[in-house]
Symmetry: C2
Subunit: 229 residues, 2 copies
């Protein structure tokens, strides 16, 4: 986290974690410019992309790219509930222990795909660091949100002979409540972040990410400004 005017690429879904992360990175005056990158992979909750656009502007990102990866949706729908045409989004309280280890909302190898593309983009621009918003509570269900995952991926990227890119996940050991608190410090507009996997007009309050988000705000002692069903 040191260095003068180190540019950074930030993976920005438009959800709570990555929006706070973007402001966290942009807040560091040594990190300039900040490039935000989002992906349209046919997710049901595409309205998170509108939030991403809003947050990129609010954080003063020098650039915000939304990469069109909608062609991946049909390829992946057999393996996840998260894209159009996939299975139903489950309520968190219906998941058994085995499902919690890799829930239906897991997208096959998603983070390696997104980080590999972000690293390519960074490298092409001479940027050495890519930030993503993995946090401690994602560990329960997503192998690609763990410290081990980041370490091993960096071990692979380190083979690059000229311009190795490093993945940074500064929240990987922070609880979601901790992220909410950091967002408060940074003045993040939580009403402009979207989490609900179901992607309807109001957040459902029952899918895994809604439940986690509501718990996190409760634990942080702050009201979530999003409208819920």
């Amino acid at each position: 986290m040191s260095g003068l005017f180190n540019p950074a690429v930030v993976l920005l879904s438009g959800g709570l974690d990555s929006s706070v992360l973007l402001h966290h990175v942009a807040h560091d005056l040594n990190r300039r410019p900040v490039y935000a990158i989002s992906y349209d992979y046919g997710q049901r909750h595409a309205r998170e992309l509108e939030c991403a656009r809003w947050q990129a502007e609010a954080a003063g990102a020098a650039q915000h790219r939304i990469i069109d990866m909608t062609c991946l949706g049909p390829m992946l729908k057999g393996g996840t509930a998260l894209v159009e045409g996939g299975s139903e989004i489950p309520d968190l309280d219906t998941l058994d222990d085995a499902q919690r280890a890799q829930p239906p909302t897991y997208v096959p190898n998603r983070n390696m795909m997104l980080l590999a593309i972000a690293a390519a983009y960074a490298e092409a621009q001479g940027v050495q660091e890519v930030f993503y918003g993995a946090q401690a509570q994602d560990e329960y269900g997503y192998w690609d949100c763990t410290t081990d995952f980041v370490t091993r991926l960096n071990h692979t990227l380190a083979l690059n002979r000229e311009r190795p890119v490093r993945i940074q996940a500064p929240f990987v050991e922070t609880s979601k409540a901790g992220i909410v608190r950091r967002g408060v410090e940074l003045g993040v507009a939580f009403a402009r972040t979207w989490s609900c996997y179901r992607g309807a007009a109001r957040a459902c309050g029952r899918c895994p990410t809604c439940v986690e988000r509501l718990h996190a705000f409760e634990e942080a002692g702050i009201a979530d400004p999003l409208p819920y069903e």
Copy 2:
């Protein structure tokens, strides 16, 4: 390489190495079905994709997907000569030693991107193995064609808690001449493989991949049926 009816995903560029690889994998009667996957990332030599289509059919692949990643071209053109709008493709004999370690035709983090997507596709379909055509002579210029790269990427993918996918690179220690010889054994139609980075009507014979291809055929004692300038 064992197992009854293990399906496989094969990365198929339409070049010499991956075309021989596809036939090599499809030749193993225990590997069924074989899914071929190609990428359109705005490469200058998009005619390799026509060859990919032809080879997928010739090898009896159950499916051939061409993933549209043309949106990546503009993002990457600052870092490579290989996409439209990038720098000029150099002749191999103009490259100095530093350039040979990571030549202008290197595409930032390309193989991690392509393999990450192929692994996601495999996982979504319940396929456990992804094959790609890294070969020994690519090691000189491409960190993402090395045994270390494959080992470290597999170490990362092994964290998957339910359906870990494994990358296989059976030619990673084979010379390009050895691949030509394997192609002869398998009856691969070399005239339907495309290598030249310049992508004109005839192969240039001077860019890095043309020079390597011509050497490989010469070493194997076989005529390359492609028309050269």
